[in-house]
């Protein structure tokens, strides 16, 4: 493997952190401690992890309603994220945004987003800003197969292409737009085919292989930083859980679910690390313990935080 041991271990740690963060969110949601909606990324961790490993704090991302993975992979702080899930004053958004609106503009995270496909124009605008300011920063847009059917997809990719913007559009194709199978919501197998319509490179990769994602996004980011324009990368993946917590996923074939769960990206990486003797079983157990510890600390922070004060209701509507 060409990738350094440090990098591989950081992939593993990030994926574990995302997984444990969300498993904890499931538990807290079920216990009624987290209000609202929770959309889980479990099963898709390799995409955010592999993609964001190519980015720095100066680069931008836009995320989705299923955003925890993107935020953690881009460097989002676990305690502030967890506190936001609880709606606490110490959360990323002072408790005013919740799971679907977490952002950290200083880290280039322009927000999770409650509207499917809404991140595409925003990411395009951030890419425009990178080019306008003549920096070599890039903007990465995460979205799902469902969002690739929005008009925002067409308008954004077209604009990015004609303006040669430093953007990378990463479609996380988990095969379902909520309950609607891809076969019913588009007449093609590979969403990357659509790149041809915008005159940009498009490729389809295994979204459960973090190394494949890392390598593909690396090329696209390199191209963007050089000023050669945007790319579309489709990552085939699978969400293990429902569209939101509480969705039993009756629309999924249990056999297909079983097949994909076996292709769990974390297990795949773990096997590879052991096979190539990058880590020992003991080291893996240690990393798992560490990741659990970080999540527990974040939960503790969130639980010990205060609700927002009532005057926060009317602040931040306008700047200045």
């Amino acid at each position: 493997m060409e990738i350094t041991k440090e990098k591989l271990l950081s992939f593993y740690e990030t994926m574990l952190t995302i997984r444990y963060f969300e498993e904890k969110a499931v538990e807290l949601f079920a216990a009624g401690q987290i209000p609202g909606f929770v959309h889980l990324y479990i099963g898709e961790e390799a995409v955010a992890t592999g993609a964001c490993a190519n980015l720095t704090d100066k680069d931008y991302i836009t995320s989705t309603h299923r955003g925890h993975g993107h935020l953690i992979a881009k460097g989002g702080k676990l305690d502030l994220m967890m506190a936001e899930l609880f709606g606490k004053a110490s959360g990323y958004c002072k408790g005013k945004g919740g799971s679907m609106h977490i952002a950290d503009v200083n880290l280039g995270i322009l927000g999770a987003n409650g509207i499917v496909g809404a991140g595409q124009p925003i990411a395009t605008g951030a890419a425009f800003a990178c080019k306008y300011k003549k920096t070599d920063a890039v903007s990465v847009c995460f979205f799902g197969d469902g969002a690739s059917n929005r008009g925002t997809f067409h308008e954004s990719l077209n604009m990015a292409s004609i303006f040669k913007l430093p953007a990378v559009y990463i479609c996380e194709n988990n095969m379902y737009g909520i309950s609607n199978n891809q076969k019913n919501h588009m007449n093609i197998n590979d969403i990357s085919d659509r790149a041809a319509a915008y005159g940009m490179p498009g490729m389809t990769i295994d979204g459960n292989d973090v190394i494949a994602v890392y390598e593909a996004v690396k090329e696209a980011v390199k191209r963007a930083r050089k000023g050669d324009g945007p790319s579309l990368i489709e990552c085939k993946t699978w969400r293990h859980r429902g569209h939101f917590e509480g969705d039993p996923g009756v629309y999924k074939d249990p056999k297909e679910q079983e097949t994909w769960v076996k292709k769990d990206p974390i297990i795949k990486l773990e096997e590879k690390l052991l096979e190539h003797k990058v880590v020992t079983k003991e080291e893996i157990a240690h990393l798992q313990e560490e990741a659990h510890g970080k999540i527990e600390a974040a939960v503790e922070f969130a639980k010990n935080s205060k609700d927002p004060s009532l005057d926060e209701l009317l602040t931040d509507v306008y700047a200045g």
């Binding site: 002072k94 005013k96 609106h101 987003n113 124009p121 990178c130 306008y132 308008e155 604009m159 200045g320």
Partner: protein, 323 residues
């Protein structure tokens, strides 16, 4: 002071701000070499170049949506939606992105962006190119809404809109673009949220904005011939709305007529009437009147359109009913 048209005024506001701050750019359909659908941006492409005056595809959604991302990433975009009637095409970007981002992010984002657009009937443009949809926008906390009536206000409000750190929708009236008036030279800023008394009077307060200011002024002139002294207040900015100016005027006059070109139901006139009923009921000595367009689409026929629009005569009639 110098004589300028409304369109020259707003363009002067843009030019002066763009010269000062290289983070300001403009993007929209035909704003470049073509100079804007009504000539609003004429000469800017030549002056600032294609990197700052940018022709976009006909893609209203990404025109506004990209501005949200660019503003969040530190630029100060001015984008154009050619007609306010097209705002439905980019409404999510205004309603759920631009207006909400700062609040949803707990105050950690700043969105200095201006959406320029045109409104107004009277030019035979029919139902999809003539509307006054400001009330769609004033119903959304998180954005500011500006509607200038004069060349000077067009210039000063443009400067203020560009300097503001919030999304501002700046609505130009098609029928006013050639309207001439005195405009201060050089830097000139009209603060957002501050009404202007366009004519002082003592017997009745007429609140009107955009093109209707001129109908109201003509009505006030006609009423003066009949011994009625009308005060004409132009809020200029509809969000935030300068309610104090209206209430102060009513302390003098005790009578309120609200005039807008938008249709009546759900129009901002209803909100202003409710506000006065809440906070200034004791100041009133007559029921509040609204002079507005009727609740129908804008018709094409010149004959019908003339009847559709609120006018000097309709305002005079409404005022006289109060005496």
């Amino acid at each position: 002071m110098t004589q300028m048209s409304y369109v020259e005024g707003l363009r002067d506001g843009i030019r002066i701000e763009m010269k000062k701050d290289s983070n300001i750019y403009m993007a929209g359909e035909d704003v470049g070499i073509f100079g804007g659908c009504f000539g609003q941006t004429a000469g800017l492409f030549q002056e600032f170049g294609g990197e700052r005056i940018i022709d976009t595809p006909i893609s209203e959604t990404v025109i506004v949506g990209h501005a949200v991302g660019a503003a969040a990433a530190g630029l100060r975009p001015i984008v154009e939606i050619m007609f306010i009637d097209f705002i439905g095409v980019c409404m999510d970007e205004i309603l759920n992105q631009a207006a909400k981002m700062r609040y949803m992010f707990g105050g950690k984002a700043k969105l200095p962006m201006v959406i320029r657009t045109t409104c107004g009937a009277g030019v035979g443009a029919a139902a999809q190119h003539s509307q006054s949809l400001e009330a769609f926008l004033t119903h959304i906390p998180g954005i500011k809404v500006v509607m200038p009536a004069t060349p000077a206000d067009a210039k000063g409000l443009m400067a203020a809109a560009i300097r503001d750190d919030n999304p501002v929708v700046y609505i130009e009236h098609k029928g006013l673009l050639g309207f001439k008036g005195e405009v201060p030279e050089g830097e000139y800023v009209v603060p957002l949220g501050k009404a202007d008394i366009k004519r002082e009077g003592t017997d009745v307060t007429i609140v009107a904005w955009s093109a209707m200011v001129h109908q109201a002024l003509a009505a006030a002139e006609a009423l003066a011939q009949e011994g009625i002294s009308a005060e004409v207040i132009d809020p200029r900015t509809l969000a935030p709305f300068d309610k104090d100016s209206v209430l102060q005027s009513l302390e003098k006059t005790g009578k309120l007529v609200i005039v807008h070109e938008a249709v009546k139901t759900g129009g901002l006139g209803g909100e202003i009437a409710a506000l006065v009923a809440d906070e200034g009921f004791d100041l009133l000595d007559a029921p509040i009147k609204r002079v507005t367009a009727p609740d129908c689409p804008v018709p094409f026929s010149s004959y019908l359109e003339a009847h559709y629009l609120p006018s000097q005569d309709k305002i005079v009639k409404a005022v006289k009913e109060m005496f």
